[in-house]
Symmetry: C2
């Protein structure tokens, strides 16, 4: 590892110009300074990634870890229908970690950051026993226009973007001891946050409520129902699954970073938005009398409660 | 430990109302939403606190750890002359940690947060091997009025607030095996960020440049000189030391969270601002030709280079 001051100077060099877009002053002072255009609200989200909890060094190349950390935050901004503005990185680093690992991690993070015009505007470093990366994302949205978890209304149709379960299926194979080459198009190693899709849904006022699927459909739909004080009925056969993925993984596997949203029933939505398929999977129902908020119906029409079984230990505050 | 969802609900309960001041929506969605009043810029800082690096469980009560984590962030907002708006907490928790420790940590953090009207607006949790708390502070300052590290000009007088070395002196005694009762007034266990002082310096346009003393006077003055492209000469005898503290600790001890600022030489500053003493300790000089940017003069008038010797391993990006 480089001495800390040199390391910080290297990050500062990699991060690029301190003044970009809404960023008035980036790395180099006690705080970063940002100026949002009038008429906008600020969005803020933090995502904590810990070695051996969210990734493993032997499974995930450093570049994928950097990409995944930032993608989680960008996906939270997408879930509100917002545009990313800047990111911050707090990085805990074990003493034995090769500088090359850190450089590749930063490369993965900054490559994705450039794609979404999201400058790295600051952060903090510390020594640590395990690699610990806390990513802070700032975004903006026209005032009052953010898509909330709490906007779902009885009668709404429920939609998901893309396909589910693909990331968890890769993780399952990794747990099984398989070696998997981390391809650039892999939804597990290099997930693509649905920023463009979300912006269009917000601009065209198509969605009532939205959340990203980070913990798993069963958990995230339950969150939406909780915040909207409604229940939901989804159809097992309608859920779009990634190739060779079981229903169980599509329902409970996390880390897909697709979007889950509701739209008024009379709206006709296109089959694709921003190049990504959208699929209706069920309906929002009135506030439930039972504890569990989501029911799932099989092809014979039989409905049962769907217990949230995602990765609750990674849940957000 | 409580199950994660219950734990998050407890934090949500402790954090208080989701809508306060600039906070439109706090805990409970993919992002928090904030609305800054027009004419203001946003300040952002993150501070990473790791067990056995920034604190020890056997030395620091959980309440002090929570207080210290937030105080570091508030001090960064103060260093810009800003007002805190909201905080976010990413918390990594070992499985064996008693829930009582976490509750006390949150109590310490939220007590200080209430004092400065800074609602806890979100965050993230994860399991971790050691307690890891990343604190994000958002603040605001009238546009263009932030006090930067880069504003120091040759001829400026250099000032510090309060007394230096007190926190490091306690740490030294703790390292020496002494048991120290963590009093509420202790600058080490419960540092008081200089928000009110900083706001007055900014409002009355008294300061040219400012930084908080978190790493130690020698390091933080060098940072200011670096960003301002100037050098500095300080007087050893002028540096205000906490009770029974050596010059060395006052120069290089970190964690005091006092402010270091410069003011034009013709300005007459009061001896106290917001109840805290301010002391002139030297002068800003033109850009240096030598590597080291700070010189220190003893009482006989002999000057030598002052090498930065603070806690560089805790440095900020």
């Amino acid at each position: 590892m480089l001495p800390e001051r040199q390391f910080i100077n290297r990050i500062r060099g990699l991060a690029g110009r301190a003044k970009q877009g809404e960023l008035v002053r980036g790395i180099g002072d006690d705080c970063a300074i940002l100026q949002l255009p009038p008429g906008n609200q600020l969005l803020v989200t933090t995502d904590l990634c810990v070695e051996d909890v969210h990734f493993r060094r032997e499974w995930h190349p450093a570049r994928s870890v950097g990409h995944r950390c930032l993608a989680r935050g960008l996906s939270d901004i997408a879930a509100m229908g917002g545009d990313p503005v800047a990111c911050f990185l707090s990085l805990g680093i074990p003493a034995e970690l090769p500088q090359r690992w850190v450089d590749e991690f930063l490369r993965g993070l900054l490559h994705l950051a450039r794609q979404f015009r999201t400058p790295l505007a600051g952060g903090d470093t510390s020594s640590a026993d395990k690699i610990t990366a806390d990513i802070l994302l700032l975004g903006q949205v026209p005032s009052g226009k953010a898509l909330l978890r709490s906007g779902a209304r009885p009668g709404d149709r429920i939609y998901v973007t893309g396909e589910l379960g693909g990331s968890a299926a890769v993780l399952k194979r990794l747990y099984g001891g398989e070696k998997i080459r981390p391809r650039r198009k892999s939804r597990h190693f290099y997930p693509a946050p649905r920023i463009a899709m979300a912006r269009l849904l917000r601009e065209k006022a198509l969605a009532n409520a939205m959340i990203d699927i980070s913990d798993g459909l069963s958990v995230d739909l339950a969150h939406m129902c909780q915040e909207s004080r409604v229940s939901a009925l989804i159809e097992a056969g309608a859920i779009p699954r990634a190739k060779a993925v079981t229903l169980d993984l599509a329902l409970h596997g996390g880390d897909d970073y697709e979007l889950l949203f509701t739209a008024r029933q009379h709206l006709t939505l296109p089959q694709k938005i921003a190049g990504i398929p959208i699929t209706p999977i069920g309906r929002i129902l009135p506030r439930p009398s039972v504890r569990s908020k989501v029911q799932i119906q099989d092809e014979s029409g039989h409905a049962k409660l769907l217990e949230p079984e995602g990765w609750q230990h990674f849940a957000k505050i």
